[in-house]
Symmetry: C2
Subunit: 403 residues, 2 copies
């Protein structure tokens, strides 16, 4: 429950978010830094960390969620399924290793080295596990590298990572509440996610075909394509949630189904009419230009730098160790795959490092449920901020090295 904001006040808040995102985006672009970090920075400035003029509220969260599903849809649209399939096994290894090591190492160090209770240790491991698919993808998109082979491995790994994150969250939650892990429940969830991935692309392809044909032959009113495509994205996010998969994966699936080269199981391939695809992309662009930055500004607003006491030695010692685990844990995976240069391995690993909003949600959950005390919460926020802000900057530089 929360108080309703007067409509005109909300207008002002929205304008402040959009303008600050654009201003810091422009400044960061001028400094040759990633725009997405400019947007997170805008959130830090207008949020509780500095000015404190905007705080998160439910409407902003909804708009931000629309932003992130639009981003995932757009990336899906531009994804080449042949490349993604080729990246499949590699992506899977990177994701599983990148989830396993930070979780196990994070929990183990917390438990054995810092002597924290087991539940707290599991939570710390959990907060260090999931990659923020949003930050990673935006960072790659901002530098125009999201269609490279390396990016496809990262993309595939980020998708798998997101699924692992959901499973981990449910498992830890189960363990904290009941003291044991319900294997049956876990298998049921895995099964549902599998069903979703088997059926959703077929359904999305079918619906997009209906939209395409209707638009071509009958449509009489303005904005038919944009309305139906946005509805398709929203519905697939909903269906995805229904099958226990993360909502953004539904939007990503809808995007892939509409991409240039799409194939179903049994090798049935489809081509999307390039004109139709261009139409969708050009209509969605201004909409995502408005919604997507809201998501990243809100990541910044969700962070309160004031909780971090830079004079605390706990912060530096614990923080440094956890940061090491957070970074190395993600990079190990890329060294387990074959036939790829060291630089590419480092790029893949670095791209998987950002924890962003996923880590923050985990930390916040731990704090509000009383599991994480203020000092540990602050350390986690500190670690998450660094994993979020540094990789996009490093990626720019690494990709330049590669060219």
């Amino acid at each position: 429950m929360e108080a309703q904001i007067p409509v005109h006040d909300f207008f002002l808040i929205l304008a402040v978010i959009l303008l600050s995102a654009k201003i810091f985006g422009e400044i960061f672009a001028y400094l040759k830094l990633p725009t997405v970090i400019g947007e997170v920075f805008a959130g830090l400035i207008i949020g509780p960390s500095f000015l404190g003029i905007v705080e998160t509220n439910f409407i902003l969260k909804i708009l931000a969620e629309i932003g992130i599903i639009l981003l995932l849809f757009e990336v899906g649209l531009e994804t080449d399924m042949y490349k993604l399939k080729k990246a499949g096994l590699k992506a899977f290894i990177v994701a599983v290793a990148g989830a396993f090591f930070p979780f196990v190492l994070g929990a183990a160090v917390s438990y054995y080295v810092f002597n924290l209770p087991i539940v707290v240790s599991l939570f710390i491991g959990g907060a260090l596990t999931a990659t923020s698919i949003g930050i990673t993808i935006r960072a790659l998109k901002d530098i125009g590298k999201h269609r490279t082979g390396v990016a496809q491995i990262v993309l595939g790994a980020a998708v798998v990572d997101d699924i692992l994150g959901v499973i981990l969250l449910i498992t830890i939650y189960d363990f904290v509440i009941t003291g044991e892990v319900n294997i049956y429940n876990l298998l049921r969830i895995l099964f549902l996610i599998a069903v979703f991935f088997a059926l959703a692309p077929v359904l999305a392809k079918f619906l997009s075909k209906v939209i395409y044909l209707y638009d071509k032959k009958f449509s009489r009113s303005d904005g038919f394509v944009v309305t139906t495509i946005i509805s398709l994205i929203l519905i697939f996010a909903y269906i995805s949630h229904f099958f226990n998969a993360p909502e953004i994966l539904g939007a990503f699936t809808a995007g892939i189904a509409l991409s240039r080269r799409f194939f179903l199981p049994f090798g049935i391939a489809f081509q999307t009419d390039p004109d139709f695809l261009n139409k969708i992309e050009s209509y969605l662009k201004p909409i995502s230009n408005i919604f997507v930055p809201i998501f990243f500004v809100l990541v910044g607003i969700s962070i309160d730098l004031n909780v971090i006491d830079l004079t605390s030695s706990t912060l530096w010692i614990t923080g440094f160790l956890l940061l090491l685990i957070a970074v190395v844990g993600k990079i190990i995976g890329s060294f387990l795959i074959t036939k790829i240069s060291v630089l590419k391995r480092i790029i893949i690993g670095t791209a998987m490092v950002p924890r962003g909003e996923v880590g923050l949600i985990f930390a916040e959950l731990g704090r509000t449920s009383g599991i994480l005390k203020a000092d540990i919460y602050a350390v986690l926020v500190f670690v998450i901020i660094i994993t979020t802000l540094l990789p996009p900057i490093l990626l720019r530089w690494l990709f330049k090295e590669e060219d």
Copy 2:
């Protein structure tokens, strides 16, 4: 205060609203009926009147408000200030007469004929007064007549009408609460609105010039124009509210300032670069395609046809008389202006008839405050529905007669 809807449920609700708007919009277009009425109809179907699967909530209201300010901005963009100025006096007469007669006649008939208490009578008069600028403008836009001379008179009158509506609402509210009318307060509000109209266009023009120049010379990031223009619209809606003017007038003012031919007092004229204007229009189109229908669907959702008992004789007798006042009261004004054909007078009058969401808000306020009893509330809803649904249909036919 209201419960938070889970994000995925909101996605589904939004998809239902967008799709039903499009489906009924298409059906109505096919039947050569106004799309906007199709959208209101979609709201009646999915809202409490029929299926009851969607109810209004705060987030939808915010999105709908964004829709209506975007619509007003777009209409402002396409407004020719020379024509609007030429329509000035005529528009003023139409608006004042169209506010005066329905209010005075509505209140008088309620008080003297139906023997209702004075406060109730004033509320009934109030609910019959204000034209729904949104319905009127969409109806004209749907048939491509929003740039004609007649439409400029309607547009000007709708703007003045909206201001009169605000003043009337404040006055009645004052009277109901304190038992008297505070003339000083009224004058203060009128003064503020005048200040807004004197300063806002200058400020909007200046800011749009800054956006134009920055975009041309410096912009480095995607979506600079769309973000800044949307922010400009939001800020002007906010400023407008700050000066006690309706929020939509702020958006309209921002639109006029960016229109092709704009002039400030003392005859200083500005031309907007046509390329820049096209850019703005093409970027805003998909965004307004998504937001604008939400507003009109929500008008339908806000109506509960179940409150209307069609077997009640009170409904028919009271309803018929109030409907007559609502229609004739708006048409009188157009017969007070000079040098215009009878058909054009009828078109202008008809265009001013829709009461839409403004009437509903008034009726709802009366009901929830206990001033309006269930039967009178039902009569008002009945009258408002007919004034809202019929004029767009009549306008199509009248404009055809005129051609």
